[in-house]
């Protein structure tokens, strides 16, 4: 993907020089191979620092909220999956179309250094991708992985290489990971558990939470001026976990709040410092919405109303919906 980085640098310079953008959102390299950080570039000279590789998972769209507030025309590099978040932000009126220029940026799936570490690659020094082979150089020797084993969870269920919104597309589209399984398999597995086991599962998961709010802050659907969890007047304000029950409610409410608006990008689960399987809560809502009210993909466009602000007169009743679940 080095070639793409070069294209991005050239594009950023072109957009800044032509005045099409005052600011460009892209990635800057970090200390290691994998810790690229989102960064804003407004200076043409700095654009050569733009990097792009298999470790640019974050969606830059969320920074457009600030760009819209500053009324600064901002160019943003978007991977195909990122464009869903952009549409959702547009739908939620959090960003304005006139203030951003979307550059579709090809992606062939992002890698997860945490998975590499879990598979035994301690102290990663460098990563090289050779097709489906990932070669990881560590302080304790070289390791080799199959790409599918170290793909980010969210990339395993890739939505494909189409951009849902883009002013232009950079280079050729890349082949994205093919997902043929059932994206709800994990949800179904939990549904199939007996009630006590389900409860125990979530107890174990959610008790890991340290209430850092990273899941919320990365989420393209969580874009409120003030989150209810930060609002002392709201019933659920709270900083740290008082006990496990509070965590359950925090995560339930967090997932509920984005139900119908969650684009299923999986970022919440990716950023969780404690590895809580948060994405499953969101997926559960997506699954239920699809089953109860018809298939819906948030962020596929910027206009279709969310299932939670629409209705049909023959919608299933709560109990009925529960029983209907396959």
């Amino acid at each position: 993907m080095q070639k793409i980085a070069e294209l991005m640098q050239a594009k950023a310079i072109e957009l800044l020089e032509s005045g099409k953008a005052e600011k460009v959102l892209a990635w800057r390299a970090g200390e290691f191979f994998y810790d690229n950080a989102p960064a804003a570039f407004s200076n043409v000279d700095a654009c050569k620092e733009i990097v792009y590789n298999e470790f640019c998972p974050a969606n830059l769209a969320k920074y457009l909220i600030e760009a819209t507030k500053q009324q600064k025309k901002t160019a943003v590099f978007l991977k195909p999956c990122d464009t869903y978040g952009v549409n959702q932000l547009l739908k939620d009126n959090r960003i304005k179309r006139e203030y951003f220029y979307a550059v579709g940026t090809p992606c062939s799936g992002m890698l997860d250094e945490k998975k590499m570490k879990a598979l035994g690659a301690k102290a990663i020094l460098a990563v090289t991708c050779e097709g489906d082979k990932i070669i990881v150089e560590t302080a304790y020797g070289t390791k080799e992985f199959a790409k599918e084993d170290v793909l980010l969870d969210k990339c395993i269920m890739c939505k494909g290489n189409k951009y849902k919104i883009a002013d232009e597309e950079l280079g050729e589209k890349l082949e994205t990971p093919k997902f043929t399984g059932d994206k709800f398999a994990a949800v179904k597995a939990i549904e199939a558990m007996p009630e006590e086991e389900r409860f125990a599962f979530w107890q174990a998961e959610l008790s890991k939470c340290i209430r850092c709010n990273a899941c919320r802050d990365i989420c393209p659907a969580c874009s409120c001026e003030q989150c209810i969890f930060d609002n002392q007047d709201a019933p659920v304000a709270g900083k740290a976990a008082a006990d496990d029950v509070e965590e359950q409610l925090f995560h339930l409410i967090r997932a509920y709040h984005v139900a119908g608006r969650c684009v299923g990008c999986g970022e919440c689960a990716r950023v969780c410092p404690q590895g809580v399987k948060l994405g499953l809560l969101n997926l559960k809502f997506i699954k239920d919405i699809n089953e109860f009210y018809g298939a819906y993909q948030a962020g596929a466009d910027a206009t279709t109303p969310s299932p939670l602000v629409s209705y049909k007169d023959n919608d299933p009743e709560a109990e009925e919906a529960l029983q209907r679940r396959g």
Partner: protein, 662 residues
């Protein structure tokens, strides 16, 4: 420090018989902020109210909790009582210890315990009550009726007679609507035009009525009592003020290829035309798509023959803006397209016609001057087949799921007067069910069978074939006998389903009036508020709300008028103060709230707000129009940031109740 007064009513023995009221008083006295508590035999009585007022003065109470019967009974009483002593009426909460406690429980200890809990919840809530003030808005004393058919005319006349100004908006060149096309009306068989045209004239002459024909709704904003409406008056190409309505232009017009809408295509009209003789206004209109002058630039015959020089080819659409206090939707109906019912032969044989075409064929003012002839041959038919339920009660994508309601009766009407005028003509009506509820309706249908010898066959027509000579064959089955029938009538009449006017959906979104899946307007309550739309200030009249016949339409028109009059009679509207309120400081402007508001009461407004940081920022925030908001609270839950709250039922109030009860 708040000072809450708690007043526990005995309601004679209704409450005191099961609840130990003294114990309730003792228990609530221990609650922080309760400055005074007392029980009394009948708190709603004059004496009881005096006791409350005295306590307010003596203890300096600033909020009241009355433990008594359901708030549906006496909340208003106690609110008034509070107001009279200078406490905002919304600082009163009722704990329902009668319907919810003493009347459903037998054990005194249990009932007393529950009464105390209910009182505690009310006290918890009242702590967060804020004084609320109903808003006021002026009422513009003018109504707009959209649609100039019988529904619109009747509504307008009733409103105008009560002394209020009314405008009628009609998209066609004349008022009169579908009823003007109809020959006779059931169940009396009197002439439709004879009863309609006087009403049209009344409307035209009424000093309080202004008629805008050939006009459409362009834009609407505002709310109940204060609608701002823009009307597009389409260019007639005729100066209405100097036209005498002599009609010479319509006779001399050489472009005669356009089927007459009024005559259901059974004859052609000129490019300049007056839809029918009694049209109001009797001013022609140029159909610019058909007019040679507009198409080729050559012609101008009408301009030459006009004695008053009223023709104006340069006329342009005109936009009128007007304020209204109320809007009535009376947009009526259309017949469905029969494209999807090819098997019935409509469009392939001229002798297969719709019921509306039959009306024109039998109408003395129609294309045949009332002689019933087969359109293809011009000859009188020997037998006629009438097919009911064409497209009605059809759940496939071809038709409409509902019963069109009027067809059974007009089929009987048609059959009857064909038989009356042409006793030799054989008439067969194919039906699924004959539905004739209504005064004198069943008797009417039975007369068709018993006195006029109309054949009623239970069963549906499958297909109508037409051979090369134009002879028709009707395939049907008689379900009662189980026989397969093949008939050769000369004329087939299709009683096709009705549907709301095409622009109903567009109007609904302009007016935020709800429509159902069939595009009929939805009433505020199907039983109790049948002529109001859920949006305040928008009323419904006639077919646009659902299939109905003329008498029903006229009664609904009157009812809608009464509602409008009731609204316009008010100088000011007191608005319900329990409305939604947006905390602009934290509103993100996502406007999710606007999507669930049934009243269109919330809009996004770009304004300067003070942010959480205390800085000023210009951004879109949700703004609630208090006059429109009815206080359901749907928006409060839809709001992701909880910036939308409902006054009188705030998050804090409800949660305080929850906490108190758990």
């Amino acid at each position: 420090m708040q000072k809450i007064g708690v007043f526990v009513c005995w309601c004679g023995s209704n409450i005191a018989g099961t609840v130990d009221v003294a114990a309730v008083v003792e228990a609530v006295k221990k609650i922080p902020d309760v400055a005074y508590a007392v029980d009394y035999k009948y708190m709603c009585s004059e004496e009881g109210q005096k006791l409350i007022k005295d306590a307010v003065v003596e203890y300096g109470l600033d909020r009241l909790v009355v433990c008594s019967c359901s708030p549906r009974m006496h909340e208003a009483t106690f609110r008034k009582c509070a107001e009279s002593i200078g406490i905002n009426p919304y600082m009163v909460e009722i704990a329902n210890i009668r319907e919810q406690c003493s009347w459903v429980l037998k054990d005194v200890a249990v009932a007393t315990e529950k009464a105390i809990q209910l009182a505690k919840a009310a006290i918890a809530k009242v702590r967060f009550n804020d004084p609320l003030h109903p808003g006021q808005s002026q009422v513009v004393k003018r109504a707009l009726v959209i649609g100039g058919g019988i529904a619109g005319i009747q509504t307008a006349l009733d409103i105008a007679d009560a002394g209020y100004k009314v405008d009628i908006l009609e998209k066609e060149p004349t008022i009169g609507g579908k009823m003007a096309q109809i020959d006779k009306t059931f169940p009396t068989l009197d002439c439709s035009a004879c009863i309609l045209t006087p009403k049209m004239v009344d409307a035209a002459c009424h000093e309080n009525i202004t008629i805008h024909t050939y006009s459409e709704l362009e834009a609407v904003s505002g709310y109940v009592g204060n609608f701002d409406v823009t009307i597009r008056k389409k260019a007639r190409s005729v100066k209405a003020e100097i036209c005498s309505g002599c009609g010479i232009c319509t006779e001399k017009c050489p472009a005669r290829k356009t089927p007459s809408e009024f005559d259901e295509g059974l004859r052609n009209r000129g490019a300049i035309y007056i839809p029918f003789a009694q049209a109001i206004p009797k001013v022609p209109v140029i159909d610019r798509e058909a007019c040679l002058k507009f198409k080729t630039g050559k012609c101008g015959v009408c301009s030459i023959v006009c004695p008053n020089k009223a023709i104006d080819y340069t006329q342009e659409d005109e936009l009128i803006t007007e304020k209204y206090g109320a809007i009535v939707l009376a947009t009526g109906f259309e017949l469905i397209d029969l494209d999807k019912y090819g098997e019935l032969g409509y469009g392939r044989s001229k002798n297969v016609i719709t019921s509306m075409q039959l009306e024109r064929l039998t109408n003395a003012a129609g294309p045949t001057e009332g002689h019933l002839v087969c359109p293809a041959t011009g000859k009188e038919p020997k037998s006629v087949v009438i097919v009911s339920c064409v497209g009605s009660r059809d759940t496939t994508e071809r038709g409409k799921t509902y019963c069109s309601k009027v067809c059974c009766m007009y089929n009987a009407k048609h059959a009857m007067y064909i038989r009356e005028k042409y006793p030799n003509v054989d008439v067969t009506v194919f039906y699924i069910d004959v539905r004739t509820p209504g005064k004198g309706f069943d008797e009417f249908q039975r007369r068709a069978v018993e006195e006029y010898g109309v054949h009623y066959v239970r069963g549906q027509v499958g297909k109508v074939l037409s051979d090369k000579d134009g002879n028709l064959t009707v395939f049907a089955s008689d379900l009662n006998s189980g026989k397969h029938l093949m008939l050769n009538p000369d004329l087939v009449v299709l009683a096709c389903a009705v549907k709301p006017a095409k622009d109903a959906r567009k109007l609904a979104s302009m007016l935020t009036a709800s429509i159902d899946t069939n595009d009929f307007y939805v009433e505020a309550h199907p039983k109790l508020r049948p002529v109001e739309s859920p949006t305040a200030g928008i009323f419904l009249s006639g077919m646009c709300q659902g299939p109905k016949d003329i008498p029903e339409t006229v009664s609904q028109a009157g009812a809608a008028a009464a509602k409008v009059i009731g609204l316009l009679a008010k100088d000011k509207l007191m608005t319900n103060p329990c409305t939604a309120k947006c905390n602009e400081k934290i509103c993100s402007g996502c406007l999710t709230c606007t999507k669930v508001c049934p009243y269109g009461a919330i809009s996004g407004v770009e304004k300067e707000v003070i942010t959480l940081n205390g800085t000023r920022e210009k951004r879109v925030v949700a703004v609630v129009n208090e006059a429109l908001c009815q206080g359901c609270g749907a928006c409060t839950v839809a709001c992701p940031s909880a910036s939308m709250d409902l006054q009188g039922f705030t998050n804090k109030q409800i949660l305080a109740e929850v906490d108190a009860l758990c």
